[in-house]
């Protein structure tokens, strides 16, 4: 009985756009949904460093290298902001990290695709970060306070990421015929995985109902995807590249682009761990974690020593 009353009060706060804070009562499903969503988001930022790290030592200029390094450092920071938000939901950092290490938790499938050429760094920034930004801008208004605050910070920092990617691909598109071909090839490979980053169609998305009612999500998968496509088509046109979708067509009536159907068999196969780089990404993450063992050991030994000194004094 009391729970029904609490649930009504909770929904009234959500409806009145009052943020939910860590110590407030919340339905168990709301907590679980956020734990899953925020930690997956955090894992994606962390794993997302790998495809770009692949090009760090081969960046074509010092400027490109400095920029890429700053961008990768931002991704690490964004992962940490998000783990902090996830931890306020009563689950420890170590628990979340273990779920990633063991492969129990998911991260965005896009990072299981390889980055084969420098043009891919352009496509990743322009399309992958571009799609992430559309999602994150909408999440700035999510109902859970710590998540919303994290998103505001992330969006502020993220704005240079997309521009740096677009600059790379625009430069290549106006380069030699080989460079232009490389840019087109990167677009061809990253287009469909990017628009699939928004997840399944609303009609096939079992978590959408409550997430919208509780304002965890402020827009549905299909709405966000449409918004991304509508703003990206023109960007491709002005640099002379072609989006690899023969069904892409302006729909005057809707004021939006119509587009072709995505390959959902591929989507689900990659989600379930069948992506070209899935095993490599997880192994690399675990190796990096295990290689840091001595640092954690040393830090702990130092703290223990300081504490015992203090106790003696």
């Amino acid at each position: 009985m009391e729970d029904i009353k609490k649930l009504e009060e909770f929904q009234a706060k959500i409806d009145a756009e009052i943020k939910i804070e860590p110590k407030d009562w919340m339905p168990e499903d709301y907590r679980k949904h956020l734990q899953r969503q925020i930690s997956q988001h955090a894992h994606s930022e962390i794993i997302g460093m790998q495809p770009e790290g692949n090009w760090l030592l081969r960046a074509p200029s010092l400027r490109a290298k400095v920029v890429l390094l700053a961008k990768i450092q931002d991704e690490a920071g964004h992962g940490l902001y998000l783990y902090s938000a996830a931890e306020t939901l009563g689950k420890s950092r170590t628990e979340y990290l273990n779920e990633l290490k063991t492969g129990k938790a998911k991260y965005s499938s896009i990072f299981n695709y390889p980055t084969l050429t420098w043009a891919d760094m352009g496509a990743v920034g322009w399309l992958v970060d571009g799609a992430a930004i559309v999602n994150q801008v909408s999440l700035q208004r999510t109902s859970y306070g710590p998540y919303a605050r994290g998103m505001v910070k992330i969006c502020k920092e993220e704005s240079f990421h997309q521009r740096q990617g677009y600059e790379i691909i625009a430069d290549m598109a106006k380069g030699t015929p080989e460079q232009k071909e490389m840019a087109q090839d990167a677009l061809n490979r990253f287009w469909w995985p990017s628009i699939m980053m928004f997840g399944p169609h609303d009609s096939d998305s079992p978590n959408t109902g409550n997430a919208v009612k509780w304002k965890i999500k402020r827009a549905t998968n299909d709405q966000l995807r449409q918004s991304f496509i509508d703003k990206t088509v023109h960007q491709a046109e002005i640099i002379g590249l072609t989006i690899p979708d023969p069904d892409l067509k302006w729909n005057e009536e809707r004021g939006s682009y119509d587009f072709g159907e995505m390959d959902w068999d591929e989507f689900w196969s990659v989600v379930k761990g069948g992506g070209p780089c899935s095993k490599q990404r997880l192994k690399h993450y675990n190796d990096a974690h295990n290689n840091g063992e001595w640092v954690r050991e040393a830090a702990k030994a130092y703290t223990d020593k300081q504490t015992s000194k203090q106790n003696v004094a």
């Binding site: 110590k23 931002d74 920071g77 940490l80 902001y81 170590t94 273990n98 954690r296 702990k300």
Partner: protein
């Protein structure tokens, strides 16, 4: 999980964005000790000239009120409008007050 797998305790981070302003809470992080906490705060929260001074405080040291305290703590001020200037009626024509 091994003993050394620990991420260390949580430290809350406060940043003063420029001299003259109050330190403001910006988030938290994990670190083994206070020096590492300060270093990590610098790397994590001030990559873009966000501030001129950082405080790190052990999460355990913060005492917070809870939603159950709301009524006792904050409702009494709802009916005390006389603590704000708009409560008072000034003679017509009075200036600079």
């Amino acid at each position: 999980m091994s003993n050394t797998d620990s991420q260390g305790p949580i430290w809350e981070v406060f940043i003063q964005s420029k001299p003259g302003l109050a330190h403001k809470h910006v988030g938290n992080l994990h670190a083994a000790d206070k020096e590492m906490a300060l270093q990590n705060a610098r790397d994590l929260y001030t990559r873009r000239q966000e501030g001129t001074c950082i405080w790190v405080v052990p999460f355990e040291a913060i005492v917070s009120s809870t939603p159950e305290d709301d009524e006792a703590f904050f409702e009494p001020s709802n009916d005390k409008a006389y603590r704000t200037p708009i409560h008072y009626v000034m003679p017509e024509g009075a200036k600079h007050i």
